[in-house]
């Protein structure tokens, strides 16, 4: 069973920090660039 979180509209300047924070919590993380230039970070927590 896994739990998924998705944080949208992250500015480019902040996306690495969000990725790093999610990783600190043990999540598998992927980042996807949005058409408007913002980023979506998706974190998967295995429970």
């Amino acid at each position: 069973m896994s739990r998924v979180e998705e944080l949208n509209d992250i500015p480019s300047s902040e996306v690495d920090e969000v990725v790093s924070d999610y990783q600190s919590e043990g999540a598998e993380v992927e980042k996807v660039e949005q058409p408007d230039g913002g980023w979506t970070v998706r974190a998967i927590f295995q429970e």
């Binding site: 739990r3 979180e5 998705e6 944080l7 509209d9 790093s20 924070d21």
Partner: protein
Amino acid sequence: MDNRIFQLLTVLAISGCSSMSGIPDRTTDVETELASLKSYFDPTVVTNYQSKPSDTEKKGYRDEVISARLRAIDLNFNEFVKDISSEQKGLNIGSDSTVLLLGAAGAVSTVSSTQAILSATSATVTGVKASIDKNAYYDTTLTALVSQMQANRQKVLVNIYLGMEMDIKEYSLMRALVDIENYFQAGTIIGAVNEINKEAGKQKSEADNELSDIVKGKYKKDKAGDTLRSFWKPDGKTVDSTNEAQLKSWMSSNGIDNTSITMFLRAEHFSDARVKAVADLGI
């Protein structure tokens, strides 16, 4: 024409025309066996059952009828699978052999015109094979349907066998006849398709539920979030486990469960909660 080519074409003719089902022929005659079971399909089985003087005799007769009907259904089912399998595999195996053999004939021939003819024939057969391969979806679907039919039949069969362990008060002939009808239906294409649709619907529903479980948030960087992040990661990189425990405890006691700290720090919908957390934790 070279004798070797004649020999190959003879083999070709045999291979191309024969139908191979992949199912061995039975040693018993199906029609004869089915005829011997006919009396168990007579409507009088119910009155025969009811006229038995004791429960033991009724149970014996019930089991006899069940076994006979299961056997008849199995015989018909196996013939059905064999028929549809023969139809499809016969085409595929035959044409595969033809292509291979024509290629081989072309290779041993030393006469260029013969090679040209064989090559043209091979191209034709390959074309036929391509059209047959268009039916690959049908072939694959059929295999899946037969597998589903077999799985459905097994499920119903377990119930019937369990019923046969019971006495007639718990599992009468009439109940057995209902299960036998279900056993027959389980071996039909309609039954298989229904079961596949049911399973697909269930899987879709599970997938939908999983999707709805995704927690989403719109990013918003604010002062309270920065303050809490500094509390969580004082040097900006390393987690302070004591502070993390305090933060998680606050989140939990304020109804923010199953949410990461990262989401809490940066999601727009937690803006007010973050301000409260900063105040409550005295940061």
